[in-house]
Amino acid sequence: MKLTVNGTDYEVDADPEMPLLWVLRDILNIKGPKFGCGVAACGSCTVLIDGFPVRSCSQAVADTEGAITTIEGLEHNGNLHPVQEAWMRHAVPQCGYCQSGQILAAVALLDETPDPTDEDIDNAMTNLCRCGTYPMIKAAIKDAAKAQGA
C-alpha cells in the first residue's frame, strides 16, 4: 500500500484492516497522532486527509486515499503554523495529549471558515480534552483567525 504523509511517499506492508493511526505510529514512527479511544470518540488521533479532519483510529489503512498531514507536517521551513503560534501565545496545552488533534481540527476549521463564530467553534471542535483547556482553545482559534487576516 502507498501512503503520502507530510509530503513523503511510503510503501507500507500491513494488515489492510489496520487503522491508519497504528500504521503511522507503530510502522512509520510518526507519533504526533495519539491513541485515545479507538472508536472515533475523542479525536486525539485526528489527522488531515486532503485538508479534512479524519479520526485515524477508525480509518482502515487500505481505505485511505489522499495526502495525509499530521501535526509533524504543519511546520514550514522551521516556522510553526499560525494555529500552533496561537496555541503557544495562549499557553493552551496542559497535559497536551489531545492537542495534536485539537490543533489539526482547528487548522481544518479555519481553512473552511476563516473567521469562525463561537457557534462555528462549538460545532467544529468536538475533540475531547480531559484537562479542560477549551476556553484557551477557543481564544487561540480566534486569535489565529485574526493573525491569518480574517
Binding site: 507503530d26 495519539k34 496545552p93 497535559c95 497536551g96 471542535m125 475531547l128 479542560g132 477549551y134 476556553p135
Partner: protein
Amino acid sequence: MSKLGKITRRSFLGFAALAAGGVAIGYYFYQKPHANPLDARKAEGDAVFNPYVTISKEGEITIITPRAEMGQGTQTTLAALVAEELEVSLDQIKVEHGPASAAYYNSAMFMEGGPFAAFDTSLLAESARETMGVAAKFLGVQVTGGSSAMIDAFQKMREAGAAARTILVQAAAAQWDVAPEGLKAENGVITNPQSGESVSYAEVAATAAELTPPSDIKLKSPRDWKLLGKSQPRVELREKVTGAPIYGIDVELPEMLYATVRMSPRFGANVKTHDPAPALQIRGVEKVIPLSSRYGHGLAVIATNTWAAFKGADAIKVVWEEAEYPADTEGMRRRFMAALNQDASFSLGGSGDPKGVLSQTPEDRHLEVTYEVPFLAHATMEPMNATAQWRGETLEIWCPNQTPTMVRHVCASHFGIGGENIIVNTTHLGGGFGRRLEVDYALYAAIVAKETDGRPVKVTWTREEDTRHDAYRPMAVARYRGALTEQGNLSAVDVDVAVPPLFKKVVGRLFPDVPLAGPDKLLLEGAYDQPTTIENRRYAAHEVDLPIPIGFWRSVGNSYNGFFHESFIDEAAHKAGKDPLAFRLTMMNDEEHAPAKGVLRKVAEISEWGSPLSEGKGRGIAHTISFGTWVAQVVQVDVSDGYLTIEKVWCVADPGIVLDPANFKAQLISGAIFGLSQALGQEITFSNGEVEQSNFYDFDAMRMHQTPAFHIELLENSPHMGGAGEPGTPPAPAALANAIFAATGKRIRTMPLSKEIDFT
C-alpha cells in the same frame, strides 16, 4: 518501637502509619541526607551541585524537577523556584524529571495526611505535621499528588538554587582573588563590578562543585523575585504544540515488541478457561501469556504492533471466574445503605450535642436528606501503558507515572529483587488525576517483558481495558440531618457518610504487610475540616466492605463530601428562607475563617450575586477549602429552552501565595471542568460483576459546546500556602446543583445530575 511509631500508630491513620509499620528510626539517620542520585549517573566533566542542579562540561545547566508533569505545569514552576535563586532565566536551562530516588521524597503531601483541617494550627495538629514530615523522609516516597508539589518544594528547591549560586560565586571570587560579597550573579554570569571582569557559570562550574555550600542559606525577599509570582511560559510548550514524542505511549526502543492486556472484568476473579488459538492466527501476534499479580488476573498478548495485540486480545476465547461481591450496582447500594444504618466506624471534628439538639427541635425546623455519588473512572486521555525491558537481573521501565519510587517498590517486591536493580524512567503524562498513583500498568509491563527474551516491550491498554480496570473514585452515600433555630440559623448538623475505606485500600495494595489503624480521614475530608462555627456538629464515617478497587481521584474525599456538604448548606439556607451567601457568612465566625469569607465576598462581587436574572436562569454558590486552598465558586445556568446550559462560572481562590498566576488560573478552570464533567453523565455501574461502561461514548466528559465562560480571581490573604491542581474541583458540582435549584426549584441529590435533568 520509637516514640514516632507509637504516636502515629496510636493516634491516626496517615502516610506516617507506614513508617510505624517497622522502620527503625534514629535521630542520626534523620539528619543524614539521602544520597544524591545524580552522582551515580553523571557524565565525565559534569558538575553536580545537589539533587536539583547540574552543569555539564559543555555548559548546559540542567534543573531536575522531580514531580510528574501531567498538565498542571509543575515542572515550569519547580524550575522557576531553582532558577530564581540560581539567577538564570528559564530559557537558559534544561528541565528534566530525573531518576527515581528517595532524595526526592515529598514531605508536604505526608504532612497533611493527619485528620486536621488545613487551618488548624493547634499544638496537636502542628506536632502531627512535624511527625509526618519526618516519616516522609524515612519512607522516601517520590510522589506527585495531593496538590503538594509547590508546598513541598517552596523552601528546598529555592535553597538548592541559592546553594549552587553561592558556591559558583565563591569559585569566581577565588579565581579573581576577591571577596565573594562584592560580586554579582545574573543570567548565568558572574561579574565583578569593580574590575568589570565576568565569567560564565559554565567556566567555574567544575571548581565550584567541589566547594561546600554554607549551611545557612539566605533566600531572596519576594519583593526581589524576577520569575516567581509572575506567569511563565511552560518549559514544554513547544513540544506539546508540535506533537513531540514525550509521552509513555510514544516510547520507541530498538527491537521493541508491542503488547496489550486483557484482565478479568471481575475484580479479583481468575481465568477459568481460555483458548488462545484464535488470537495466535492473527498476523503479528506472537504469544498469549497468563498474567497474575496483586492487581488482578488475566492474559497478555505480545505482538509485532499494537493493533495486532488489540485484535489478538479481543479474539481470545475466555471464561472468567465469578465475582465475590454483589453482581450489580443495586446490590452494592444495599451494602452502602446497610453500613449507613449501622454504628459509625469513627467520627472526626465534632463538637456539642447535635443529636440532643435535633431531638429538641420541632420537626418543621428539621432537615434530613440523603445524597449519593457513583464510582468514577479517571479517564486520562493517554490510556495506561508502560514499556519494560529485562537485561539479566536488571529491569528498566519507561512509563508515565505519579510515583517512580512506588513503581520500583512494587516491581521489586513482585519479583523479589532489590530496588537497586530497577531503573525507572518517568515520561510526560497524558493526564494523571490520581490514576497514575497506581502502578499496575508498570508491573504488568515488567511481567510481560519476562517473556520477550530480553527485548523491550511496550504494553498499551485499550480504552475499554482502561475504563474497566481503574482504581475508581468510590461510590458514596451520605445522610445529612440539620436543625434550624427560630431565627433560621443552623444549630446542629449531623453527618453520616458511607464509603469504602479509601486510604486503607490504596496502601493495602502498595504495602500489603503494613498493619493500618485509626480513622481514614479521606472518608470525611471536605466536610469535617471546613470552616464552620455551627455549635453542634458530628461527622461520622461508615466504612463499607466492598472489594472494588478504589483510589485517589482529583480532590479525593473532597470530590464527594464537597458536593454533599455544600448542597446541604444551600438546602438549609433555602429552608431558613435566607440568601445562601449570607447564610454561609454567618456561620464562619472564627478568626481563621477569614480567607473563606474573603473568597465568598469576592466571588459574590464579581458574579453580581443577588442581582436579578431573567426567567429560566439561576445562580448557585459553594465553597470548599481543600489542599490548603480556599475556593468559592458561583455557577450560572439557563434552562429557558428546556435544556440545562451552564453559562458562566466565577471562581475565587486564596492559596496564600501564588507562584504563577496564569498557571494557577488554568488549574482552577481545569479543576472546575473536571468537577462539572461528573455531573454531565459520568458514572461507573456494575452488572454481572463487571463494569458496564467501556469508552468515551458511555463515560464522557465536558466538551467544547458545553463549556461555560470562566472568570477567575486570585487572592493572597491566607496565612498558609495551598495547592493548585485539585482545589478547583470540589465546589463545582455543588454550585451547579445549587444553581439548578435556583433556576428550577428542583433539588438533585444524586450524581450524575443528568439522570434528572437534560444538559445541552
